[in-house]
């Protein structure tokens, strides 16, 4: 065999093998689905058989062609719902594909293969589903006499199927030269459209008219076509691109009879001639019927069994969509502009030069040369990458281009008026993405026309224009391509969608209660809401939206919906520019590294070992992470890989098996004693006992690394061993042997040459059988707990010691500085303790000056906590160690309360006293606040201003109240926003300002402020926000709500200043 033939044959074998690789799984899914099989899957299988049939014919592999043809026929019968793909049917098909695979593996010996058994099975299968009188049709050919008297021979089964599918059968004669070439049409386009509209039962180029090379060039090139389609006679001329009168109706399903009936070919030539003679020899006009039509099996079948064709699957639809799908099927070739090719050639040249330079530098051990060579290679590679990416870029117009026709057809079919607007056709994206978008976009445009846009009269009734608009828009945004499909139709009703989801048991009532409108609309992506009848019946949206979602997932895209009832819907798809290079997060499990696309990563967490038991629990048998009140199911990636849980021994750096069962269920320290340990375990226990001080259960190496991943529909956590950097990875397809693994989307090669598999987040969720726990009782409890926690204020404290066992805290806002001092720096002057500090004398106090606590031993390591009281700096003498604490603890104001001690709280089993530095200073230095006393005295008559203080924490409320009252201001207390509002309404005439906490139950400070601002009479009432959360965002939010000023809790100086400013008319002037 010549090398060219080898090449062609190898191509054929490789392509066929690839096509066959997915057939088995597709057929098995089809078998499982029974009569409700996926059209897409059956079309995939059909296409494979069809392609093998065509290609094997070209090579002269006749047996392969025959077997593929019979297989294709059975698949076509399944496609048109004449055969239900049960186990027996699928078995025969699988065997046929097995045989085809054998033949493809040894193509040159394929004609010697025995396919009799397969042919008998396939024939039996097809004929079993045919009426008795049609059984012979499977193996018979039928001849149809053409108007010129010539007989076209086609398999009888093909003709019968076309008739059964209630399609029209037309005969047309093209003159390719005059009708196509000279009319400026493209032959390939005309034929592509023809295939898209139906099935070419047979075609015949008149070879004799063409003659030989030395004959005179003909001025005509006739092509006769027998064509089955659902397109009606009045439109057939347009579809076939021929004047209507040149197309003859051979079979009209509405009339139930054939004008030109097929005649079985007689076995001998004599019989053939007699058959020809039975037919009229002239072209039959459309309305003419033969006077004595021969009664054939197929004719009987067409009238007798037409009602058996399932109405839910009209053949025209199948024929057309199949054709479109075929037409849009991705080409294996790509057009590249010469400029880009030249650029690539230049870069290839650059690369060679750089390689030579590097090799030379390496051989000379020239470090500078090596460095410059590697830099050059780096530059060239980057540019090469960019240019190669350009070759893959295609305009999205390639997909958008088909929609005008689609919308036009739908407009007619649905009797609606729809305008289609297209914007951004020129936006380019990766070829794979453009091809992958074809099906989802078609689905969505069809939905928008079918279910979004209302009938003209309905639109006019609701005040809209009779013609609806569907818009397609593509644009670039933040390195992504955004595609929007908008309609001005009836919109999606979230409530009706929710009701349908409940009815179908897809979500619970409890789950729905917490859902926003947007979340309810997102229910449209649930698989159960995907069938046309079901969804059309409820809100008119959602046909196959789960399939759209799945397809977009595969493309690494995201979809969101905005919809308003009566106004319309907007579907926004965000896609990466390319699938070939994607930013990804790298992680490891076991000794293996993996990549997860950044688009799927929501956040990454590290759970300290001490918090694992608290944060991770088991709900409905699923290990879940409590993530700010949301329960997120977890997948342990090691388990996916089938690896045992292990840990890294810090001493030996060995990976040893862990005895941990599950994530949260960590064995206790004495578990090993309760259960009889194995010998191996004993060794480990002994080893652990020896290093009990650094037990790994309490070591940071036991921390959990979790990647929170989204599939778009749900979030889940992936527990991994190690997290690495984000990197742009080059995506490589998986080999055939790994293609069945749904949890991987591809592979990439890392910088060190190792391969890392890329995670498919949806596939991993499916593989792990993840259950959503969002509807469980525990989920609502966790949410409530989180809400409660959020309502508690976060407070920052400085922790220190007074006596060796007296741990104290002071709110961090009160601390100006912390200074480490020595005993020698302390001075006793005039009976008072001071120290030299920044050129002045700093008064020092200790807690024991006012409270009954231990006296500080000056032999301890000393610290001075500097605060400001009454505009004076004062130092609190404390001892080491110090620490900072951010907590939400509740402060007990009674147990430890005494002068200088505001209260106490418990932290990890230790009692911590909260120092009230103001009270302490006032007790020790009573003479420091004459101005305050004067102010208070002048207001003693009750003429002072009044403020409402809203604060849910008893500690803070009483603390602030005391401070305010010491300024001579009357305070009305409220323990939440709602009570504050009620009190304000009651005392509206005498309240001069409101001082409110932000996070409170019942009604938050922001809600209270908004309520106040709603009333004109309180428009100028100062509202001071008092919070420990004073980030920029909080301040912005507060200002937007109407808060006059934000103050940090316990910053008494600022609070006093603010009160002065806002109550200046009421508060007497500062007399200090």
């Amino acid at each position: 065999m010549s090398s060219e033939m080898d090449f062609l044959l190898n191509e054929f074998v490789a392509e066929s093998r690839e096509m066959l690789s997915n057939i088995e799984s597709d057929l098995l899914i089809i078998e499982k689905s029974g009569a409700n099989f996926s059209d897409k899957l059956i079309n995939n299988v059909f296409r494979a058989a069809h392609s093998i049939k065509g290609a094997s014919g070209l090579f002269g592999f006749t047996k392969m062609q025959e077997l593929a043809h019979k297989t294709e026929t059975v698949l076509d019968m399944i496609r048109t719902h004449l055969i239900t793909p049960d186990a027996e049917v699928v078995n025969i098909l699988l065997m046929a594909f097995d045989k085809l695979r054998d033949m493809i593996n040894q193509p040159n010996a394929s004609n010697e293969q025995n396919i009799t058994e397969n042919i008998i099975s396939l024939t039996g299968l097809a004929t079993a589903f045919l009426p008795t009188e049609e059984k012979g049709a499977f193996s018979r050919s039928t001849s149809v006499k053409l108007p010129d008297g010539f007989l076209i021979s086609i398999p009888e089964i093909d003709l019968n199927l076309a008739i059964k599918q209630k399609t029209f059968i037309y005969f047309a004669e093209y003159d390719l030269l005059n009708d196509i070439d000279r009319a400026g049409k493209d032959l390939l386009d005309v034929m592509r459209v023809l295939v898209a509209f139906g099935k070419v039962l047979d075609a015949r180029v008149n070879y004799s008219v063409i003659g030989k090379l030395d004959d005179e060039v003909n001025t005509k090139l006739p092509l006769q076509v027998l064509f089955a389609t659902d397109v009606e006679p009045k439109e057939i001329g347009c579809a076939m691109e021929l004047p209507g009168e040149r197309v003859i109706v051979v079979h009209d399903p509405r009339q139930g009879e054939n004008i030109l009936l097929p005649i079985p070919i007689a076995p001998s030539s004599g019989a053939k001639e007699s058959a020809i003679q039975q037919l009229p020899s002239t072209t039959l006009p459309q309305e003419n019927k033969p006077s004595t039509p021969p009664k054939t099996a197929s004719a009987q079948a067409s009238s007798g069994t037409s009602s058996s064709v399932p109405s839910s699957h009209p053949a025209p639809e199948n024929g057309r969509s199949g054709g479109l799908e075929e037409a849009s099927h991705g080409d294996s070739t790509i057009r590249v502009s010469l400029d880009i090719l030249e650029n690539l050639m230049n870069l290839a040249g650059e690369l060679v030069l750089s390689r030579n330079q590097l090799r030379e530098a390496l051989s000379q051990k020239d470090e500078k040369g090596i460095l410059s060579g590697s830099q050059r290679i780096n530059l060239v590679t980057t540019e090469l990458q960019e240019v190669i990416m350009q070759t893959r870029m295609q305009p999205i117009g390639n997909v958008f281009g088909k929609f005008p026709r689609l919308v036009r057809d739908l407009t007619r079919e649905l009797k609606k008026e729809i305008n289609l607007q297209i914007e951004g056709k020129e936006v380019e994206m990766d070829k794979t993405l453009v091809e992958g978008l074809n099906d989802p976009l078609t689905h969505m445009v069809r939905n928008a026309c079918d279910h979004g846009i209302e009938l003209p009269e309905k639109r006019v009734d609701s005040g809209k224009k009779a013609a609806g608009t569907v818009s397609l828009r593509a644009y670039h945004e933040a390195g992504q391509v955004v595609i929007e499909i908008t309609d001005d139709g009836k919109g999606i009703d979230p409530e009706r969608l929710a009701a349908a989801a409940i009815e179908k048991g897809l979500v619970s009532q409890d789950a729905l209660q917490g859902m926003s409108e947007k979340e309810k609309i997102a229910l449209i992506f649930l698989p159960g809401l995907s069938t046309a009848e079901k969804v059309t019946g409820l809100s008119g949206r959602g046909v196959g939206m789960d399939v759209v979602k799945t397809n977009l997932d595969h493309l690494g895209g995201k979809i969101e919906i905005d919809s308003k009832i009566g106004k319309g819907s907007l579907f926004r798809i965000k896609l990466p520019l390319t699938l070939a290079i994607i930013p990804s997060l790298l992680f490891s499990a076991g000794q293996q590294r993996f990549a997860i696309p950044q688009i799927n990563v929501v956040e990454i967490l590290r759970i300290p070992v001490a918090q694992i038991q608290k944060r991770i629990e088991i709900v409905s048998g699923v290990e879940v992470l409590n993530l700010r009140g949301k329960l997120v199911p977890l997948v342990v990636f090691r388990e996916i890989l089938g690896l045992e849980t292990s840990y890294l021994d810090k001493e030996t750096l060995e990976e040893l098996p862990s005895r941990r069962q599950g994530i949260a269920n960590r064995r206790s320290r004495d578990d090993s004693q309760k259960n009889a340990p194995s010998e191996k375990a004993k060794k480990m226990i002994n080893k652990e006992d020896k290093r009990s001080e650094r037990d790994r259960r309490f070591d940071a190496s036991g921390d959990l690394n979790i990647i929170i991943v989204t599939t778009g529909l749900m979030q889940y956590g992936v527990v991994v061993d190690q997290l690495y950097n984000n990197e742009e990875i080059v995506v490589k397809p998986l080999g055939r042997h790994l293609k069945g693994l749904q949890e991987y989307a591809g592979a990439t090669i890392m910088g060190d040459g190792k391969v890392a598999l890329i995670i498919d987040s949806s596939g991993l969720a499916a593989k792990s059988h993840l259950k959503s726990v969002s509807e469980t009782k525990r989920a609502s409890e966790a949410e409530e707990e989180a809400l409660k926690e959020r309502r508690q204020d976060i407070q920052n404290f400085l922790l220190f010691f007074n006596g060796p066992k007296e741990e104290c805290a002071i709110p961090l806002e009160m601390v100006r500085r912390v200074e480490r001092i020595t005993k020698s720096q302390i001075e006793f002057l005039g009976g008072r303790r001071t120290m030299q500090y920044r050129g002045v004398s700093l008064p020092l106090v200790t807690l024991s000056d006012a409270a009954k606590v231990q006296t500080i031993s000056e032999n301890q390591e000393l610290l001075v906590v500097v605060s400001s009281v009454e505009d004076k700096e004062v130092g609190l003498l404390v001892t080491m160690p110090v620490d900072a604490l951010e907590t939400k603890v509740a402060i007990d104001q009674t147990t430890m309360r005494q002068k200088g001690v505001a209260g106490s709280f418990i932290l990890k089993g230790r009692t911590i006293m909260v120092v009230d530095i103001y009270e302490l200073v006032q007790t020790v230095h009573a003479d420091w606040a004459p101005a305050q006393k004067l102010r208070a005295a002048s207001l003693a008559g009750g003429k002072g201003p009044t403020i409402i203080l809203a604060e849910d924490s008893d500690f803070f409320r009483s603390h602030v109240k005391r401070l305010i009252e010491s300024e001579g201001i009357n305070v009305i207390e409220a323990c939440n926003g709602l009570i504050a509002w009620q009190l304000l309404e009651k005392h509206a005439s005498k309240v001069n300002a409101v001082l409110t906490d932000i996070e409170m139950p019942e009604m938050t400070g922001l809600e209270l402020t908004r309520q106040i601002r709603k009333e004109q009479r309180f428009a100028n009432l100062p509202v001071i926000g008092l919070t420990s959360l004073a980030g920029e965002q909080n301040i912005e939010e507060g200002k937007a709500a109407g808060i006059t000023e934000y103050l940090v809790k316990l910053d008494q100086e600022k609070l006093r200043t603010a009160l002065h400013r806002f109550l200046s008319d009421e508060v007497i002037t500062d007399v200090s």
Binding site: M1, I180, L213, V217
Partner: protein, 103 residues
């Protein structure tokens, strides 16, 4: 520039198309094919890798070449045919005419 390059090996000739198989190129190809067959070529191989388009004249010359080769018991072998053109040949049932037979 010629629309084709011809490599001759005894009774076999490989014609490498440099362009689409359309009216313009067929006018040039017809005498080339004819002369090859007249010169004793019975196995005519046509490399269609460069041909992304074909029109009725292109089909006409293929059929005419086939008819001429039939008369000398020869064969026409097409290779490097793009998927859309293969699909066209299948639709038009031309695959019955242009067979690629393994040696």
């Amino acid at each position: 520039m010629s629309c084709a390059q011809v490599n001759r090996e005894k009774e076999k000739a490989t014609v490498i198309l440099q362009t689409d198989l359309v009216a313009v190129s067929t006018a040039e190809l017809r005498p080339i094919f004819l002369n090859l067959i007249k010169d004793g070529v019975t196995s005519l191989w046509l490399d269609m890798t460069a041909a992304k388009k074909i029109d009725s004249q292109g089909i006409s010359i293929l059929v005419a070449s086939c008819n001429s080769l039939d008369a000398v018991h020869g064969e026409l072998v097409l290779f490097g045919v793009s998927a859309p053109i293969v699909s066209l040949f299948q639709t038009l049932q031309l695959s019955r005419k242009f067979k690629i037979n393994p040696a």
